[in-house]
Amino acid sequence: MTNAEKNRLKDKAFQVFGVFCTFIGLVILAIFLIDILIEGLARIDWDFITSLPSRRASRAGILTAWAGTLWILVLTSVIAFPLGIAAGVYLEEYSKKTRLANFLEVNIANLAGVPSIIYGLLGMEMFGRVMGLGGSILAGALTLSLLVLPIIIVTTREAIKAVPRSIRDASYALGASKWQTTWNQVLPASFGGILTGVILALSRAVGEAAPLIVIGALAYVPFVPTSPTDEFTVLPIQIFNWTSRPQADFLVNAAAAIIILLLITFILNGIAVYLRNKWQKRVKW
């Protein structure tokens, strides 16, 4: 075999290996999803969704868990979006390239890389103890807001950056103030991108368990929370709790709850992808 033939063979071999690697992750994911579906699908019924948790696996439900997840989702949105978008707009449109802005920029990027459990410790100290919120929904939502703020800020800035300079010039040339230009032109033009980031951030928040465990969210909550100061649990914590139990019945419950959690995550991600595509197609400068 000549050298060239050997090289071609290696080239082909790598191509096969490349296909293998590209799909192995997806295949494993598929195996896993099927496994979960087999294990958990039969367990999902109306009772499972509307029942309180219980010591007996067959009677336990996820009512408190998904109610808690919903509370957290709504509160986190209300807190994190205005703050994140405002911060993104400020950093991109208003702040001068000073040392402070630079410092903030590096730090925000850095915050995005901090493990979520650290946010939990921070949240427990700041919101739980100093503000006296304990392990309440509000403390949880504030903690998750801290967690997703960097994501929202970064995507807001990127979306704003994509708005061409000429649009701003046109607005300024008509006598618009900076605020009018931002509000009337820049924000509407970048809205799709911002929304995509916001939904991705939400989907991240829905799956988080670690920081909420640290601030003191409970594994067992016998009632549905009715106010932001109530104690709570969320789906990922419920899953964690059931997974850690030795009885096989609880693993079935966990699988069933995972199906629900994945459904929520995939729907949120699907919306984000849809919006991103739609937005990219619509805006051609």
Partner: protein, 254 residues
């Protein structure tokens, strides 16, 4: 000369980007309701100067000016001048058409809306008047609620001019307004400029010598940040005083 009515004047104007000296001792006086063209090779400072006339350079970091620019005798860089008020008086049209990603109607009335005008009848009337001024009305009157981005390049540029006219400025600055357009659209814009100078003072930057010759009453030649020559267009094109101007006009460099 001094008895004449000057709309815009620059006195000992210097401008800098950081340490780069972009405009050097510019002295010029532009007549009311006339077209003044700025010509010169790329990077000569003509666009920079145009953009100092309505302070569009304010947003560029490290940019600063020394000296005065007078609009109707008032220094536009004075502390008490509000830049948004100034820009209502001095409109601008850019190199590439830059309509907002909104409807045609919204584009035209944007300037009025941000001034707080809400009266629907006034908005509609102004929109029609501005679009008629730019000879766009017949082409777009049935699709005012369609996206401005669907128009052709030439139409977009006329829309941008209509948008500038809608807030009734007295000066219109045009920064190479036809450089991104085809010859037919260019001809339409030039026709328009000719018509508009009855009511407006127009300052136009152009790369195209013939265009300067066709549309302008006065021409200013810039080179390396300096104003080399400023004269009636006819005079400058037939008997330029400076050798540099002559070389540029006859195409020996550029």
């Amino acid at each position: 000369m001094s008895k004449k009515n000057y709309k815009l004047e620059a006195k000992d104007l210097n401008a800098y980007y950081g340490s780069f000296h972009a405009l050097k001792n510019i002295n010029i006086a532009m007549e009311e309701k006339a077209v003044t063209a700025f010509i010169g090779p790329s990077g000569c400072g003509k666009s920079t100067f145009l953009r100092t006339l309505n302070r569009m350079n304010d947003y560029i970091e490290g940019f600063r000016v020394e000296g005065d620019i007078l609009l109707d005798g008032r220094d536009i860089y004075a502390k008490d001048v509000r830049v948004d008020e100034l820009r209502k008086e001095v409109g601008m049209v850019f190199q590439k058409p830059n309509p907002f990603p909104k409807t045609i109607f919204e584009n035209v009335v944007y300037g009025l809306k941000i001034q707080g005008l809400k009266d629907k009848r006034v908005l509609a009337e102004t929109a029609e008047k501005s679009l008629r001024q730019t000879a766009l009305w017949d082409e777009v009157k049935d699709k005012l609620d369609k996206s401005a981005l669907a128009l052709s390049g030439g139409q977009q540029q006329r829309l941008c001019i209509a948008r500038a006219l809608a807030i009734s400025p007295s000066v219109i600055l045009m920064d190479e307004p036809t450089s991104a357009l085809d010859p037919i659209s260019t001809a339409k814009i030039e026709e328009l400029i000719f018509k508009l100078k009855n009511d407006y003072t127009i300052v136009i930057v152009t790369h195209n010598m013939q265009q300067a010759g066709r549309v302008s009453d006065y021409t200013a030649f810039f080179y390396m940040g300096e104003l080399v020559e400023f004269a009636k267009t006819r005079t400058m094109f037939t008997s330029p005083k400076h050798e540099r101007t002559q070389n540029y006009i006859t195409g020996r460099f550029g």
